[in-house]
Symmetry: C2
């Protein structure tokens, strides 16, 4: 992580779930939690289910004892290609590392 371009601490500690394989996100999340800091798993639209899978696999198989600290649901407005805006649901799952 130290070689990355500087990012805000909050952004650094979040994983944005998209279309890559689930295990990629599980590993990225685990690396952050292993530093002892909270990690926020974020997703929009259909990837929300995927984000839940990432967290559940992590908690059940890799880092048992990881806690859900906060789960936030919201709606974001995205600009469509044709200029109109679309509403899309989003989730932010804050994970706290096992003690």
């Amino acid at each position: 992580m130290s070689k990355d371009a500087p990012r805000s601490n909050k952004e650094q500690n979040s994983v944005f779930v998209g279309r890559r394989p689930t295990m990629n996100y599980v590993m990225a999340t685990m690396m952050i939690l292993n530093t002892g800091e909270d990690c926020t798993v974020k997703a929009r639209g259909r990837a929300i289910s995927h984000a839940v899978d990432v967290c559940e696999i992590l908690r059940n198989r890799f880092l048992k004892g990881t806690e859900y600290k906060d789960i936030r649901l919201s709606t974001e407005q995205l600009e469509g290609e044709n200029g109109q805006s679309n509403n899309v649901s989003s989730i932010e799952i804050v994970l706290a590392p096992p003690i």
Copy 2:
């Protein structure tokens, strides 16, 4: 609701989101919240994203002031057709009606 077969109060106050149109679930949820009681929106697997949409549409368009009282994520074991069990993520979103 009074004509339904008797169900436990907890089950009566929950909506299980599947593949029907989003608005069906929004309306079912709104009917329960309008009685003044909490409503639990549940979903498994890919329908999790759908359940979040249902809650967000309800909160933003229909019953403004509806609060997220609790959001629980878990994993359920489902029996596959070939006898092996599959893990599937699930969500339970507890909504409290506006005061």
